[in-house]
């Protein structure tokens, strides 16, 4: 029996080099990273199209381009998509591809669990969006406030797609978080102490902790909501004694750490780009680490600043207001350190640097309007207006998306082996910066003038027309900027490989190996003596020789496997079955089938030779 297993796996290994099957069974962190990136970018474009339709609808007063019902679906799916299917998995692409490379590992610690996370994420993303084909795209807002989401006020399947889809995505996030957490704890190259880890790894590490601690809370809230909708409970239904405010608490206990889940990887990326293009080590490394830890820790004690309008009383208002203001301190430390990093540096104005600098400027604006919200009297004025929309787009678009785009220009040459066009990159940057500010800066004014969020149109004569028109022009410019990026990407992918191992003179280990890396990453496990190992080497040798591709014979790699996909399908069917939970319909047959598939996948996975 042992021989047949060995032969079987040997055949698998030989097949697993190219073709669709090799992608389905892959457990290589680099391929999974690319899968995350490709899926997330498509979802991101979808979320962008939703946003652009929203902008077209709001371009003029009393517009009737889309119905109010469809508008609800658009803004719900725009928020849900950008957060759970865009920014988070785009960050996951970089976690997957670059955490192992930056810590000098051959893969993540549990490669098959990694594949499982990806498949669950993909199926969850498709599930949420599948509602579109049943005219049941989620439509109760990405925050899903009770009791709008109750069966009474949201009859159709829309909210069911949302509730179940988010639970599926939560499983993917927790599985991935365990994986990266242990990878960073345990897979570091010899000599890489915690305080020598690249800042991206540090910020990713903190992000995994936040994922582990925040996602269970939203899972519980979603379970309650699902029970309310299908199984006769009244967790959030006042008629049965339930309290809709509990939803808000549970949602934001998750939701505030979630904003750090969205922004900390961006902090990490920018902290990689700025030193490399300033030719200076990161300023205040230790302060950067501890401010990140402090932000994450405080992030669990501020959630009710999203709820000042619910009337929590003076004590709670004061507490959450002060704790929120306190977070500005470590955030400010980070901003000063970034500025300290570029201060006096020999700045290289390449595209990644443009985006990193753009990030700092835009994030400061978003951060400042955030501090304004921390004051309850100001917040009461701003709640549910476009001022809030302006704020979180400055931190999530101006912050996360700018940093992620910068990260793409910085790291895509490593992933694809091909340089992106610099001129097109700079055009992309300027269009995005201008379009972004034209779109979102006027929202501050509109918000303070009282334009409410989440409403499909506005009457003429309130002074909203000009700014809304301008915003839509800005949105169009953002669309063009993304097209420039897509063309740049496609053109570079169609060219032969031209990226050297270290195009930017980077400081971290991923630049010590060929672009793209070979399957085993490092022919020999590197040894590390500081947080800037490649600059140490460069100083020692004068210049770095181009690393050669080697055969890699004898390097032990994990076997490919399709059981992670089987298990992921099990999760999908188990939770998806609940969509059909109607009286007199045997939906539990579907769910139990899913459980059976899940168990089958997990058992085969557990007893298959890992390689």
């Amino acid at each position: 029996m042992a021989t047949s297993v060995l032969e079987h796996s040997a055949v698998h290994h030989a097949e697993a080099k190219s073709g669709l099957w090799s992608w389905i069974t892959t457990v290589d962190h680099k391929r999974i990273g690319i899968l995350y990136g490709a899926s997330a970018f498509l979802f991101f474009l979808l979320g962008g199209i939703e946003a652009f339709v929203i902008r077209l609808q709001l371009m003029t007063a009393d517009n009737t381009l889309v119905s109010p019902e469809f508008y609800n679906q658009l803004f719900t799916m725009h928020g849900t998509t950008m957060i759970f299917l865009g920014v988070m998995p785009l960050s996951a692409m970089f976690f997957n591809y670059f955490i192992p490379l930056q810590i000098g590992a051959r893969d993540v610690v549990f490669p098959r669990l990694n594949a499982f996370s990806y498949w669950v994420f993909l199926l969850g993303g498709l599930f949420i969006n599948a509602g579109f084909f049943f005219n049941a795209w989620p439509n109760a807002g990405w925050f899903g406030y009770a009791n709008l989401t109750s069966a009474q006020y949201s009859p159709g399947l829309n909210t069911d797609f949302w509730v179940i889809g988010l639970q599926i995505l939560g499983i993917a996030s927790i599985a991935a978080a365990v994986n990266f957490f242990v990878t960073i704890i345990n897979m570091r190259a010899p000599g890489m102490t915690l305080l020598r880890m690249p800042m991206f790894v540090w910020m990713s590490f903190i992000t995994q902790i936040l994922l582990l601690l925040a996602f269970p809370v939203i899972t519980v809230a979603l379970v309650f909501l699902m029970m309310d909708r299908h199984f006769g409970t009244h967790f959030f239904i006042p008629a049965g004694g339930g309290d809709p405010i509990l939803w808000q608490h549970l949602f934001w206990i998750f939701g505030h750490p979630e904003v750090y889940i969205l922004i900390l990887p961006a902090f990490g990326i920018v902290s990689e780009i700025l030193p490399v293009f300033s030719r200076k080590p990161l300023f205040g490394y230790t302060a950067m680490v501890f401010s990140g830890v402090f932000i994450a820790f405080l992030g669990f004690g501020v959630w009710s600043h999203h709820m000042f309008a619910t009337g929590m009383g003076p004590f709670a208002d004061a507490f959450f207001s002060l704790s929120t203001m306190l977070i500005a301190v470590p955030t400010g430390v980070k901003i000063f350190n970034w500025i300290g990093t570029i201060w006096g540096g020999s700045l290289q104005f390449k595209t990644p640097m443009y985006f990193a600098l753009g990030f700092i400027a835009m994030f400061i604006i978003g951060g400042l309007s955030g501090v304004m919200h921390s004051s309850p009297p100001a917040d009461l004025q701003q709640t549910d207006t476009y001022f809030v929309v302006a704020h979180f787009h400055y931190v999530l678009f101006g912050g996360s998306i700018f940093a992620l785009t910068g990260g793409a220009y910085y790291w895509l040459p490593k992933m694809t082996g091909r340089m992106l066009n610099e001129t097109a990159g700079k055009i992309h940057f300027w269009l995005m910066l201008i379009g972004f500010n034209l779109t979102f800066a006027p929202m501050h004014i509109l918000g303070l003038n009282g334009m409410p969020r989440r409403v499909y149109t506005y009457p003429a004569g309130l002074g909203f027309e000009f700014w809304n028109g301008l915003e839509t022009v800005g949105a169009a410019i953002i669309v063009v900027s993304q097209l420039v990026f897509i063309v740049n990407l496609i053109v570079s992918l169609r060219r032969p490989r031209n990226a050297p191992a270290d195009p930017w003179h980077g400081a971290t280990l991923e630049w010590s190996i060929p672009s793209p890396p070979q399957e085993f990453n490092f022919p020999e496990v590197p040894e590390v003596k500081s947080s800037i190992p490649l600059w140490d080497l460069r100083r020692e040798l004068g210049s770095l020789p181009e690393p050669q591709r080697v055969s890699g014979a004898g390097i032990h790699l994990p076997n490919p496997s399709y059981y992670p996909l089987v298990a992921a399908i099990g999760v999908f069917v188990t939770l998806g079955g609940i969509l059909f939970a109607q009286p007199h319909f045997p939906w539990y047959v579907i769910t139990l089938t899913g459980v059976a598939v899940l168990f089958y996948g997990v058992y085969r996975w557990a007893f298959e030779p890992a390689g």
Binding site: F181, V182, V217, H234
Partner: protein
Amino acid sequence: MSDAAAHAMHPPTSTGLDNRKVAIWAFIGSECLFFASLISTYLVYKGKSLVGPLPHEASQCMLHGQMQRCEGVFEVPLVTAGTAVLLFSSFFVVLALYGAQKGNRKMLLGWLSATVACGLFFVGMQVYEFTHFYHKGMGYGTNLFSSTFFTLTGFHGSHVTLGVIWLSTILFLAARGKLPPEKALNLELAALYWHFVDVVWIVIFPVVYLMR
């Protein structure tokens, strides 16, 4: 890890700690927040039910289609028995692990079987309790107490069930001689999960059943 055999089998890790053990602890940490959310909800909604039945006090319930007086539903002696059994199962599984690490097959198989039996008893107790409550007019959605109670203890019970399946799988392997001392970690991981499920119950038992 001081075990030389384990070092030979796996590449060394940065901390010297086993990867899977760090992973199960990280997962347990995550689960803390899961149960904290459920327990918070139970407590926040305590005493806010609009109709009966209630945990201890008599109240007005809808039973057989009409409102009538009904007693509190909790049967503390039964649950105390379940609690004791679950506590002892934690004791049994450390003994099984001790046997596994020392290569004492009899100890391993005996105490692991006892652990699984305890787990099954606990699940059986819960199934009996839930059915009993149902017959007393306490459906899942009857009131806030019933919904929060069933969700909290139901999720705990499903964790116990998963633990039983996991431990049974290991018992099956151990019985076929596939759990030599150098693989005792396989049992240790399941045992950690099992103890966690136990400590959650250590919180649930007084907070839900004994505080009025």
